[in-house]
Amino acid sequence: MIVVDKNLELVTLTERQQKARRNRSIAIGVALAALVVIFYAVTIVRFGHHGASITGSGLLGGG
């Protein structure tokens, strides 16, 4: 059973600290989203090349 201490001391961020944290969070979010898009797009490009080379070689019945 988890006991919650109701007298737990919490930290209230100053306005400047909140603004800085929000700024960092947005930057990390944008960077992660960009990373996902980059890996997705390059994977598509690489598979595209790979597929084309297989088709071109006649391995998939083409050519």
């Binding site: 001391e9 919490l10 930290v11 800085a20 960092r24 947005i26 990373l35 490009v45």
Partner: protein, 314 residues
């Protein structure tokens, strides 16, 4: 709700960061990064292999982030000397906006991320070269050479010279003489560039205890060495044309740029010992930046135009 006092938290070793994304971006040394991006781009475009534009962009991005990561590691380790130099005192770590631990973590995470991205999405030779560059700059140069020998930037300059080789390797999966010549141009450019800066910032370097050439060997010896490097750099800049890699157009431009470099270095050599304004050293520093940008731009234009003419059957 009770509020914990900020002072108490700091005493207990806790600190709530007020660093913005801009402070972390400054850790990447964006100005140095722009030079790395440009030279790596030239290496990538000059390579005789067509590369998918998206993969080329990813390669350049990974190289830029890797270079930035080594800059962050440098700022973490050098925070003590950055704090006493006017040129670097406002950097995020010495100014207290970013803690050394944050800078170290940031640098390490970006190092791994950039190398892995380049390896997985482009090729492992370029990723290995990038990993070596980060290691060489952060460990060999920053932690060892910089505080130990006046040859620090001569040997350490190799790290800044590798990006065009990485760009070339990203496109071709190999390293060739052509890319090694691009490396040599930056490698030989580095000492006169930084020694020109060290001449008019020698008080700064002395205060920080960094053994730069003017502080160790004296200003006269540094001026002679700057001139000697200029004499070597000028013909090496023309080598791509002499070896048949470019057209005569590049040969003429690079020869003129090299002659300009020698002329500015000559003015530094002729500088009076008691010259406090050091205008020739400042002029050489400014010209050296222009030189590197212009010679790589000339190489890029020569490659692109030459390729376009060949495709047009001219």
């Amino acid at each position: 709700m009770a509020l914990a006092d900020d002072r108490l938290m700091e005493d207990a070793g806790f600190r709530i960061s007020e660093a913005t994304a801009g402070d972390f971006f400054a850790l990447l040394k964006p100005r140095v990064m722009s030079l790395v991006v440009f030279t790596a781009f030239v290496g990538l475009v000059a390579a005789p292999v067509a590369i998918n534009p998206l993969i080329a962009i990813v390669a350049i991005l990974a190289i830029a982030i890797g270079a930035g990561a080594s800059g962050a590691l440098n700022m973490w380790y050098d925070a003590d000397i950055d704090a006493v130099m006017t040129r670097t005192a406002s950097r995020p770590v010495p100014a207290g906006r970013v803690t050394p631990g944050e800078a170290l973590s940031f640098g390490l995470v970006l190092s791994v991320l950039s190398v892995m991205t380049l390896g997985v999405l482009v090729n492992w030779l370029s990723a290995s070269l990038l990993a070596f560059t980060i290691f060489f700059y952060a460990v060999i140069y920053t932690m060892w050479l910089k505080r130990w020998t006046p040859q620090n930037i001569v040997i350490g300059g190799a790290a800044g010279a590798i990006p065009p080789v990485i760009g070339w390797a990203a496109a071709t999966g190999s390293v060739s003489l052509e890319s090694v010549i691009l490396f040599l141009i930056i490698f030989l450019w580095t000492p006169p560039h930084f020694w020109a800066l060290a001449l008019f910032k020698s008080d700064d370097y002395a205060r920080a205890g960094i053994p730069m050439m003017p502080n160790v060997a004296g200003q006269a010896s540094t001026r002679r060495q700057i001139f000697a490097y200029a004499l070597i750099l000028a013909p090496v800049g023309v080598l791509p044309w002499a070896l048949g890699y470019t057209t005569a157009g590049y040969g003429v431009v690079s020869a003129a740029l090299g002659a300009g470099f020698v002329w500015y270095a000559w003015k530094v050599l002729a500088m009076a010992d008691d010259d406090r304004a050091m205008k020739p050293a400042k002029a050489l520093f400014g010209y050296s930046l222009l030189y590197l940008f212009a010679i790589f731009a000339a190489y890029l234009v020569d490659c692109v135009v030459g390729r376009a003419l060949m495709m047009g059957g001219v």
